[in-house]
């Protein structure tokens, strides 16, 4: 059966809405006044370890009680209607949990039965097929690779064709090929009309595969927008120089020093082509040996670093008007 052809019982316009969702662990504020509206899209939560991604997902899936604030999943309140919320969603936690003593098919079949779908055997077959596991379905999961186990978890999650799919770091610990494959499947599910809420700490994945991204740091959302719009926050080019020696600063008009990553210096420049030779000269004057230089357009990494690091906003090369627009509540 093709997932595309299946009718969703009650398509919801805004599958996830949160209102000042907050969670403290003792004195530590893991999630601080989160306000999101997720539509029919792949919505990514991007943040480093410990930024509150898992805490957010666990509150939205009714597993963890918020300290204050609330959220609605397909219009159902997570406090008052947790059973209805759980009917609408599937959740794949960060830590993998598949039964190694069962076969792939048995693993998925069990969830099909727990979800109470009408034809569990058929549902299981098509979920396994969608995730390219059909030919290994009757092998014990013991023999599956990490990527296959992740796909098996996805098969378990989509066997009841949920409205909203929550994926907590679905690609963590997988090799590049397996990561790509997982994202390929996520994209396919989005095509079928499923809304996908996914967390990741890989900037490149969020950039490439998410429709919209919320950048979160220490429990606070710094910005929410499409990856392209987020990158356009930084109007400048990025010039990097790999050096050996100690950099002691210089003044070139239109060029600001951003940070150093290892022995790589990162500069923002209004015009990269013009700035590169100037930077090269300035560094040479300081007696540093330059091993390599490059110009590139900003990546989500650069945006992230700037949203999280700079407390002095005016010093950075931001389009501050845009930046303020996308902060906080949307819609």
């Amino acid at each position: 059966m093709d997932y595309k052809k299946r009718e969703r019982d009650r398509p919801c316009k805004t599958p996830i809405v949160t209102h000042d969702l907050t969670r403290y662990y003792g004195d530590l504020c893991a999630v601080n006044r989160l306000n999101l509206e997720v539509e029919n899209e792949i919505f990514g939560i991007l943040g480093p370890n410990g930024s509150g991604k898992t805490t957010t997902v666990m509150m939205l899936t009714t597993l963890l009680a918020p300290t204050s604030g609330t959220a609605e999943i397909c219009g159902y309140d997570i406090h008052r209607q947790p059973e209805l919320v759980r009917k609408m969603i599937s959740y794949v936690p960060q830590d993998m949990a598949v039964d190694v003593r069962l076969t792939g098919r048995e693993n998925v079949m069990m969830y099909a039965e727990l979800y109470g779908i009408t034809d569990p055997a058929q549902g299981t077959r098509s979920a396994l097929k969608t995730l390219d596991l059909a030919d290994r379905a009757d092998d014990f999961v013991k023999t599956y690779s990490g990527g296959m186990r992740r796909r098996l978890e996805l098969a378990q999650a989509l066997v009841h064709n949920p409205q909203v799919l929550f994926l907590d770091e679905p690609t963590v610990g997988l090799d590049v090929a397996a990561r790509k494959k997982i994202w390929h499947h996520i994209r396919y599910l989005r095509e079928t009309g499923m809304s996908i809420f996914v967390t990741t700490h890989y900037m490149d994945e969020a950039d490439r595969y998410c429709d919209r991204v919320a950048i979160i740091d220490k429990g606070i959302v710094k910005a929410i927008d499409t990856p392209d719009r987020l990158k356009s926050l930084i109007s400048h080019d990025i010039v990097t120089a790999t050096i050996s020696g100690i950099y002691s600063g210089f003044a070139i008009p239109g060029v600001t020093y951003a940070e150093s990553r290892g022995d790589e210096l990162v500069f923002f420049a209004q015009n990269g082509e013009k700035a590169l030779p100037q930077i090269l000269d300035a560094l040479a004057v300081q007696g540093l040996s330059i091993l390599a230089m490059s110009i590139r357009r900003p990546s989500l990494d650069d945006v992230f670093l700037h949203l999280t690091a700079s407390s002095d906003e005016d010093a950075g090369p931001f389009n501050l008007s845009t930046f303020r627009n996308i902060l906080g509540r949307r819609g």
């Binding site: 959740y91 830590d95 969830y111 727990l114 979800y115 109470g116």
Partner: protein, 241 residues
């Protein structure tokens, strides 16, 4: 298929395919019966095996029930519990699934013990006595496995659970009437023995062999069982991680 049965079947498959847990569950009750029933030098009765069989039945039901909590702890540590809690199936079906799987394991063990006891010369039970014996074991097993499974929600890790387990099961077993009747117990032990649910079950099985219906024991056990199940269901519905 009902969620309770799905959870139960999963645990049974894991148990049987795990092999060693399965073998051990079949062998240990036999070991108890032989070492306790035949090897202990006992003076207060000539038919010690008749006397001790109910004790060993209840004891192995106790050990089986303690594993109910162990199963849940394992599910928690391996991340299955988190996934189950996010499912639309009623959360208490996780609890009843564990109770059912423990009951099945307990009844398999009890049957082995009874068969061995009869082979070793214990007086045969008639069908009515057998029925009441199994009934008591089922109620007692449901009571204890409901308790340990719920306890496991609140105790995070395997080591702590094992410690709490030992703390509960040892005194419970030794202050019961499993090994000796009230008449030969030291004075101080009679009161704890008389309020010990293990004794209710053991005394109930002994009384029915004397041809009396153990109304008090079954009543007490059923009451406790119902109360604990109500508490457990509430706990499972409300659980947050």
């Amino acid at each position: 298929m009902n969620a309770i049965l799905v959870y139960c079947r999963r645990d049974l498959i894991r148990w049987i395919r795990g092999r060693w847990g399965f073998i051990s569950a079949l062998v240990t009750p036999a070991a108890w019966l032989i070492f306790v029933g035949l090897a202990l030098p006992i003076r207060f009765t000539d038919d010690y095996i008749d006397f001790v069989t109910p004790g060993i039945l209840v004891m192995s039901t106790l050990t089986a029930s303690l594993q109910g909590g162990g199963l849940l702890i394992l599910d928690r540590m391996l991340g299955f519990f988190t996934k189950f809690l996010a499912l639309p199936a009623p959360r208490e079906s996780i609890l009843f699934g564990k109770i059912l799987v423990i009951m099945i394991r307990g009844l398999i063990q009890s049957t082995i013990i009874l068969i061995l006891a009869f082979l070793l010369g214990a007086t045969l039970y008639n069908p009515y006595q057998l029925f009441i014996t199994y009934l008591i074991l089922i109620i007692f097993g449901a009571l204890l496995s409901s308790f340990t499974t719920t306890l496991a929600i609140y105790i995070g890790d395997h080591d702590s659970y094992a410690a709490v387990n030992a703390m509960i099961s040892m005194p419970l077993f030794f202050t019961s009437t499993a090994m000796m009747p009230y008449s030969v117990m030291p004075e101080w032990m009679r009161i704890p023995a008389a309020v010990n649910p293990l004794s209710f079950a053991i005394d109930g099985i002994r009384i029915v062999q004397e041809g009396i219906f153990p109304l008090v024991q079954i009543g007490l056990l059923s009451g406790m069982c119902l109360l604990l199940m109500l508490i457990s269901v509430r706990a499972f519905r409300r659980v947050k991680l």
